[in-house]
Amino acid sequence: MESDLRSLRITSIEKEEEDEEREDFGKEGEQEDDEDDEEEEDEVEVTLGFAEKPKNPRLLLRHLFPSKAGGVPAWLDPVDLPAEKSFTCGFCREPLQFLLQIYAPISDKEYTFHRMLYVFMCPSMSCLLRDQHEQWKRTVENPCRSVKIFRCQLPRSNPFYSSEPPKRNGTDIPTITGAPLCCWCGSWKGDKVCGSCKIARYCSAKHQSLHWRLGHKIECSKILNLSETSASCIVNGKAKVRATDKYASNSLWPEYEIIIEEECTFDSEIPEYNRSITSLAFTSNRIDETYQLLSDKFEADTDKKVWASFQERIAKAPEQVLRYCQDPAAKPLWPLTIGCPSKADIPRCNYCKGPLCYEFQIMPQLLFYFGVKNDPDSLDWGTIVAYTCLASCDASISYKEEFAWVQLYPTATVA
């Protein structure tokens, strides 16, 4: 309608140029309109997790319901631990290494009064690359993965913990001791016993051979000679639990406590110094349309835009290692456009066949805190997203497997 009116008028040449330019900018504005709409969508509340060194390692034991990363897992249900075929990597068959656990109770159901989510992964990058192919496969009965998430939940009254909250003043002790754990990794059930001393326990043959080579060979004979149990790796029947020296492995990731903060507390105020610049900018009304061409080359394309918005979002709190969102409609923050799952790629819950929904995601800053080496073959990920059962179903086994989606950075290739 406006253009019709314009064609009727007799305008000077300069004015025509300006009108044309404004039309062009109209089109450009339409493209940019989508950006604005997207910015206003994200209003869900996100909770962030930060890795901090614990003041006292004893604070991270299981009776205090910790959220932690690295070290050994603090099993919520200490008796019915995952079985061997669940805790080995699908490709290299080695036991998985503990990455992190979070305490995420759900208030509206009785049987989820206590709820812990554990994330384990194989530290080998080649297994992770193969895992990428596996996660894209749909409708597989028993997927073989190298990243596994376990969920454990307990009602308020349960045989392992008291119904009263822990006092957190240094006097809390667990009520019962759990199943014996592997001497080497301290994570998995130690079913297999060392043949000679019959005291050291292991979860798998690989850990036994590793421990044998790195110290148990000498200790084993010492244990046989001594009548009392005094070696460092022995778990005895006393209720007192030693926090450290429980495992002999030298390759576990360093232990951190995960501190919880809301993302909205980090929204900072942008200083309002742009008032003076605004007035200056308005003096020159001549719009140079060919800056558009410049902007096409130097502005971002979609992949870079996604990355830029990802960076902007984490810039509020650059040290975050975990993003948790309780809203079932929330979407994870993807760093890249490639490798994102569609709705059909997310399978159903193994146990209740109900839908899974996004609960939390692990950020790559955790690799920095773990001090992972930066060799060509060392571990690296873009993000690991956890999809858990929406209903948080109760099944017969204590540790239920959930679905993990890993998005890796594309490997840099030489042009």
Binding site: S107, R115, P165, E262, I287, D288, Y291, A308, A412, V414
Partner: protein, 277 residues
Amino acid sequence: MERGGDRGGFGRGFGRGDRGGRGRGDRGGRGRGGRRGGGRREDEQKWVPVTKLGRLVKEGKIVSLEQIYLHSLPVKEHQIVETILGPQLKDEVMKIMPVQKQTRAGQRTRFKAFVVVGDGNGHVGLGVKCSKEVATAIRGAIILAKLSVVPVRRGYWGNKIGKPHTVPCKVTGKCGSVTVRMVPAPRGAGIVAARVPKKVLQFAGIEDVFTSSRGSTKTLGNFVKATFDCLMKTYAFLTPDLWIESRFAKSPFQEYTDLLAKPTKAILDDVVERVDA
């Protein structure tokens, strides 16, 4: 007294429930909230890298941008460039342009910021960002400019005395209808160019150059892009001193850089070995 009766769980947890008072208490205790007002300086110190290249730079394994350019690694975090170039990296806002969109309730104005960054010693970058507020646009443009830093090759006009001060040879760049030609100049000639490309060349660290342009240089966008294109070509030109053969270096991300080795094959070999063992 039963604590946490309505909420599931005991004490600190992520859970789906009301978390009003606890979050604030935690923040006070850890002292995290106070960092908000610290300003940009604190953010730089507290940079936690997200990519492997970022972690390598933070560690200190990569000290110069040339190591990154050699293997064409994509730079995704602007703090990488900041850490490597440090305080020599200067930025300047070239222009803030208001762009308008017609809406029912009048015009919606946004601001487009053009920022050029450079260290005056062979590295330049240009960034463009549009935003509702001027400050946001400038900040975004600075970040984009740092991500697009490219190397500039300098050479001599005549005798090879002192440091390189001019372009190594006659180069020309083109964008749209604008062609910019840069010609080596003797010392003391200074940058003989129009106002806007002169700024870009100053940031690049070129001291003397003669330029000649053709086409509609009124279109500043094409003009600046053409000078950029020209500067990028300085390293694409094969001069006789580059005739000697160079050995391929190992990229920090790849175990093999020669074309014969296939990475997928290496992974399969590892798997076979482990299965056997």
